[in-house]
């Protein structure tokens, strides 16, 4: 089981999402193209194809030309027929390839969803020792049932641990092979069906309805089974349909004009393009197919599927495409301080000695008192003492007679007694009281140091000692939250993208401000309660802003539900996962930033290919209009700027280019347009040059190149 992973690309889970500042995507394996061919053929069925109006028109055109070619066969006609069918097929292929990647992932997931049996406990109540149960199949479990799961067993369904603690292998879902701890109560109680308990025994209350487990939903999502068009996709489809309609009218109404032109020039012989009955059906359909936005029409759904897929590759599951799109629009990011902006723990950053105490003495005492302190704060003191004062780390066992005093909630300090020397470190009030109780007199300066550290957002730990009969304060350790590396740059980027970042923390405003300043976020919410969070989201939304946030606890659920993009951590509670519209399997809150980038990339890809598609039409006109009418109006040959060999080869080359460009752009559609965080203006300029100007120029070159080959075919002159 643990070797089967969902991940397609081997990214380290939990690593910050920065890779050269751009969003990448999966590569296209040529094998996938071939594997998707059968699906591409299946999608020719007009019953499904009509949902894509552009390609539906192409299919009708292909059908029409096929009939015409049967009635009046020529090499030219059949060549056009072939390429028109290929155009539809290529479009289907794009969609099939995009879906195929999801199917592979779904297969992996299905393997995890094996038939499990559950040991169901009737009438479980807290505190009862379970002694009997009945064995049922996992699909029979209902919401609210209690089951026992022991080491080596598969969790039969999604639920919350209500008793016990266990380590669980969740690799089937997350791809992460290190086991995680799940325990009753708190925010680490959720277990997912299909995962394996490795140790201990827990009682789980099932929270899913039969057939609606997390894995079921994941399978449906990656397969795109109930994929619905997103709002922006619908809007774009409308525009594409309108453009198709315009070109349909433009080509259809051309016929009487062409007939008139032909009758006005009776001396001109009929050609394959123009006869006394007007432009031939084959050519008319070719022109239409070249003009309607086939490129974007063919790739539109693949772009959407691939966008979801890119999220899955980053181990994020979006419950709807709408959420992915909303991510691109987000203008306010709510980020939890701990774990997102700062490393989870405070670290020693300075030793401030009391007046008259050498700094080295303080450092030595601080280190000594922390040697047995295994908390991250304690470790950081030892590390800092070594870095800043060159004090070698000693193992607790090295000191004979050392008697370690552990931290308790009552004393609020910890330390060590070595022979007749006692050292303590801990909360300022506790240590000072301890000194005073032992006859010492902490000076006012110590109080000032403590206040200064608190004021700067740090946490002061006072170090005191009793040596012989004298009790005194040695100084203060400055513990501070350490902002993750690169966060400031990340937030600067966000600002350039027009996104406001708000740090959420339970700290007091003073501490919060200090960290907010250091990290470079735009705003902060201190002493935040779940109600505060919800209120902040509502306030931002009333101003027309879209809000994204991450959360894991049950008390985050209302805010997650209210946010436009709510990313629940997979380690979080079922309630949080239900409330959010995305789940991050890596439980990495920094990923929110990547999600925003993926959302933007999705929209940019759509816009870029639409622009490219429309810009392409200019060159196609320059190929086809002279081909149709230069015979009756020789002046129009001037428009044949590409100097295409003959009318037939010009039309065929344009049709071939139109089809090939779809295949050529499949990788781009799946990967997404390159995106670097920058201002809207810069982004637009770059994409306009690339896809607007490029879209005008590329087909001139492409059609000319194709013509160089096509003119060698029979019947092309």
């Amino acid at each position: 089981m643990s070797t089967q992973t969902l991940k397609v690309q081997g990214r380290t889970p939990g690593s910050p999402g920065k890779r050269d500042g751009k969003v990448g995507g999966g590569l296209l394996d040529p094998k996938q193209l071939i594997l998707s061919l059968p699906d591409a053929f299946r999608k020719l069925n007009p019953v499904t194809l009509w949902r894509n109006p552009v390609m539906f028109i192409v299919e009708i055109g292909a059908l029409l030309t096929t009939v015409l070619a049967v009635v009046e066969p020529s090499f030219f006609a059949w060549a056009i027929v072939l390429w028109l069918w290929l155009t539809v097929l290529f479009a289907n292929l794009a969609e099939a390839v995009a879906e195929g990647r999801g199917k592979a992932q779904a297969a992996t997931l299905r393997a995890a969803k094996r038939d499990t049996v559950a040991r169901r406990v009737k009438n479980w109540k807290p505190g009862i020792t379970v002694s009997e149960w009945d064995v049922v199949g996992a699909p029979e479990l209902c919401q609210g049932d209690f089951v026992i799961v022991e080491a080596g067993e598969i969790v039969p369904g999604d639920g919350d641990v209500v008793e016990g603690i266990a380590s669980v292998d969740e690799s089937a879902i997350t791809g992460e092979s290190a086991p995680v701890i799940r325990e009753s109560g708190g925010d680490r109680s959720a277990v997912t069906g299909g995962t394996r308990v490795l140790s201990d025994r827990v009682i789980v209350q099932i929270t899913q309805k039969p057939g609606e487990s997390f894995i079921d939903r994941m399978i449906a999502l990656v397969e795109g089974a109930n994929r619905q068009k997103t709002p922006n996709e619908i809007a774009l489809n409308i525009l594409l349909a309108a453009l198709t309609l315009i070109f349909l009218v433009a080509t259809a109404t051309m016929q009487p004009m062409a007939i008139y032109a032909k009758t006005e020039n009776p001396g001109v012989p009929d050609s394959l393009a123009l006869t006394a009955e007007g432009v031939t059906g084959i050519v008319l359909v070719s022109l239409l197919v070249c003009l309607i936005p086939t490129t974007i029409g063919a790739l539109l759904s693949a772009i959407g599927i691939a966008g979801m897929d890119r999220l899955v590759q980053r181990n994020v599951l979006a419950m709807s495409g709408r959420a992915v799109e909303a991510a691109g629009d987000v203008s306010t990011l709510l980020l939890d301080k701990t774990g997102t902006i700062t490393l989870g723990n405070r670290q020693a950053s300075e030793f401030v000695p009391a007046p008259g105490v050498p700094a080295e003495d303080l450092a030595a005492a601080a280190q000594l008192s922390s040697l047995a302190d295994e908390t991250p704060e304690g470790r950081s003191i030892v590390v800092y003492a070594k870095q800043a004062y060159g004090l070698r780390e000693r193992q607790p066992g090295e000191l004979a007679h050392a008697e370690w005093v552990p931290f308790t909630a009552q004393t609020r300090m910890s330390g060590v007694a070595v022979d007749d020397r006692q050292v303590r470190k801990g909360a300022a009030t506790a240590v000072m009281k301890w000194v005073r109780d032992n006859g010492g007199h902490p000076t006012d300066e110590v109080g000032a140091i403590v206040d200064a550290i608190s004021g700067s957002g740090g946490t002061p730990l006072v170090v005191g000692e009793i040596s012989g009969d004298t009790a005194r304060v040695l100084g203060v350790i400055h513990l501070k939250d350490v902002v993750k590396q690169g966060m400031r740059e990340r937030f600067d980027e966000m600002r350039r993208m027009g996104i406001r970042t708000v740090m959420i923390t339970g700290d007091n405003p003073l501490t919060a401000r200090a960290i907010a300043d250091e990290a470079g976020v735009d705003d902060f919410l201190a002493e935040a309660t779940p109600e505060d969070k919800l209120a902040l989201i509502r306030k931002e939304q009333e101003g027309g802003r879209l809000v994204a946030m991450t959360g894991d606890g049950t008390n985050d659920a209302p805010a997650l539900a209210q946010a436009d993009v709510g990313v629940a951590m997979n380690t979080g509670t079922s309630a949080a996962k239900e409330a959010g519209n995305m789940v991050d399997l890596d439980s990495n809150p920094t990923k929110l930033i990547e999600i925003v980038e993926i959302g933007k990339q999705l929209l940019i890809t759509r816009g870029a290919l639409t622009t490219f598609s429309i810009a392409n039409d200019i060159a196609k006109y320059f190929a086809i209009i002279p081909a149709m009418f230069a015979a009756v109006y020789p002046g129009l040959e001037t428009l044949n700027v590409m100097r295409l060999a003959s009318p037939q080869s010009a039309i065929l080359s344009a049709v071939i280019f139109n089809a090939i460009v779809i295949v050529a752009l499949i990788p781009l559609a799946l990967r997404g347009v390159r995106y670097r965080p920058s201002s809207a203006s810069k982004l637009l300029s770059r994409n306009l040059y690339l896809y607007g100007l490029g879209g005008i120029i590329v087909p001139f070159i492409g059609i000319k190149l194709i013509d160089l080959f096509v003119q060698l075919l029979p019947g092309m002159s």
Binding site: L239, V249, T253, M254, M257, M497, G599, Y621, G635
Partner: protein, 553 residues
């Protein structure tokens, strides 16, 4: 002075004058449409027509008011023409035939002013003044009202209300069009235009024959004809008639009047949405398209390679020596770029490619700067389409002025954009496909086709100018072109108002660095590009078979 130099001075002085006036006039119109108080005369009108001026309308009610007002206007105008022999000041003219009356009624109510009749020999003074001239005012005021309603859609938040059509209509007529027209008429009379009620009198012509010359209230008609981008001439030859356009400088005044309001409305728009730069951007798009068009058209007319034009120094056929080539070309560009359709020279006689430019100007959808009101709303719809395509490329759901362009908005914008090309192309195709209608063509070859294409382009875009060379006062043409005018006017208006309604309901998204800026040259260039490419792609096949085939050798 060389003709090129004259042209540059002429155009340059127009640009300078428009720069001077757009600001005060735009600000005036802003105050007119946002004021809360009513003038005494306005109150009287509201009482008369039974309107409560302080209640606002939803888009549907606004649209129904526009349609009802226009329907009544068409019926009234139709009846007046059919009964003109029974009314005063008919100058003894018989009733207008039914198809001409229908065509004319629709034509004037839709601000098109396509004339399938000859003014001085068909309509009496009463019809001209209280029928046609009144429509010259109110049809222009309707256009402005609709534009202002759309602007309110952008400017307002979370509301269903778009203003009151009757108030907008009355204020536009009373506070904007009437005062300017009054001053303008006086200026034109000073320039030599006539303003009287005389019956026709016979004049001996140079060739020894006699000609009946009709007098009439020409100056007052002339100014509103240009100011309201109407274009329906008192005389058949329109602004080429010396009584309608006496000298080189009245020609300048008339072009100025054509462009005055369309170029000032973007300022009003900028004021209303609370960001003048947005208005400047729209002005810049209009000005860029207009200047390109004027330059190309003048260049083609001055530098024509044909034998006769070479000998004459320029393509002089169909142009009056009073005005010369450059000034005529400027008038032609101005009249086709706006939905005016008045002419001081004959577009049919322009070089093939020059004639194509006049057609292309109209095919742009009358947006640069377009008709009064219709130009602004047409341009805003194009801006919406541009924002949608280009806006995606910045990675956000497209938004314009803080309003999201979603499925409903793009559907309405697309339908707006679809209407005129479909009308132009299907109309032309029908005419070309029927041998009976082809019989109306007086010319053969690509030029004959161009004349038909021009007629449908002009009618569907509510321009009203004609290539001529086509017998259009037949029942079929009168009916078909009348339908094109009506559908080409009112379908877009309904779509625009629906769009306004859907925009007004939204609450705006605040702008940030991630928002596509819509006031920079980048955006201006994009709208120009999208407009040219979309229109070009739509009409290129038709143009290739007409003016391009004729003009490229």
């Amino acid at each position: 002075m060389s003709p090129t130099m004259t042209g540059i001075l002429f155009i340059g002085s127009l640009v300078a004058a428009l720069i001077l006036t757009h600001r005060p006039l735009g600000d005036h119109m802003y105050r007119v449409y946002t004021a809360t108080r009513h003038l005494a005369v306005e109150r009287a009108i509201y009482r008369l027509i039974g309107v409560r001026p302080d209640t606002e309308q939803r888009w549907g009610v606004y649209a129904r008011s526009v349609l009802a007002f226009s329907a009544v206007s068409i019926l009234f105008l139709y009846g007046m023409q059919r009964l003109q022999d029974k009314l005063f000041l008919s100058l003894g003219m018989p009733p207008v035939t039914d198809h001409v009356a229908w065509n004319t009624a629709v034509s004037f109510v839709t601000n098109t002013n396509w004339q399938s009749y000859s003014g001085e020999s068909t309509m009496g003074h009463l019809v001209q003044m209280s029928g046609l001239a009144v429509q010259n005012f109110v049809s222009a005021a309707v256009g402005m009202a609709v534009a202002i309603a759309l602007v309110r859609g952008f400017a307002r938040r979370t509301t269903d209300e778009l203003g009151n059509f009757w108030v907008d209509l009355v204020r536009g007529s009373v506070r904007i069009l009437l005062p300017i027209a009054f001053v303008g008429a006086v200026v034109l009379v000073a320039g030599g235009l006539i303003q009287n009620f005389s019956a026709p009198h016979d004049v001996a012509t140079l060739t020894g024959g006699t000609q009946a010359i009709t007098g009439g209230p020409v100056a007052s008609q002339e100014i509103i004809k240009e100011l309201g981008t109407n274009g329906g001439g008192f005389y058949n030859v329109n602004s080429a008639h010396p009584f309608e356009n006496a000298t080189g400088w009245t020609n300048w005044v008339e072009i100025f009047a054509i462009l005055l309001i369309p170029f000032a409305l973007p300022r009003t728009f900028g004021r209303m949405v609370g960001d003048k730069r947005q208005g400047y951007a729209i002005t810049a798009v209009m000005a860029a398209l207009a200047l390109i068009s004027v330059a190309v058209l003048t260049g083609l007319e001055l530098a024509h390679g044909g034998t006769v034009p070479q000998a004459a120094g320029a393509a002089m056929e169909g142009k009056d020596v009073r005005f010369g080539v450059a000034n005529s070309a400027t008038f032609a560009a101005a009249t086709t770029l706006t939905s005016t359709g008045a002419v001081d020279s004959f577009h049919d006689s322009y070089t093939a490619l020059g004639g194509m430019i006049t057609m292309f100007n109209m095919m742009l959808g009358e947006v640069a700067p377009g008709g009064v009101g219709s130009g602004l709303y047409g341009m805003l719809v194009l801006a919406v389409i541009t924002v949608f395509v280009a806006g995606l490329m910045v990675g956000r759901t497209p938004e314009y002025l803080g309003k999201k362009i979603g499925a409903r908005e793009i559907k309405l914008a697309s339908m707006y954009f679809l209407v005129t090309p479909v009308l132009v192309l299907t109309g032309t195709a029908f005419a070309m496909g029927s041998s009976e209608q082809r019989a109306s063509m007086l010319n053969s070859g690509p030029h004959g086709f161009s004349e038909v294409l021009y007629a449908f382009t002009s009618a569907s875009n509510n321009n009203g100018s004609a290539f001529g060379g086509l017998t259009v006062n037949t029942p079929w043409y009168d009916t078909a072109l009348g339908l094109c005018m009506a559908l080409g006017r009112f379908l877009p208006i309904v779509f625009v108002l629906a769009l306004a309604g859907s925009l007004a309901r939204q609450s705006p998204v605040p702008a940030s660095a991630g928002t596509l800026p819509t006031h920079r040259p980048q955006f201006v260039g994009m709208v120009v590009g999208v407009t040219l490419i979309l229109v070009g792609l739509t009409f290129l096949p038709a143009l290739a078979l007409g003016p391009l085939a004729e003009g490229i050798n």
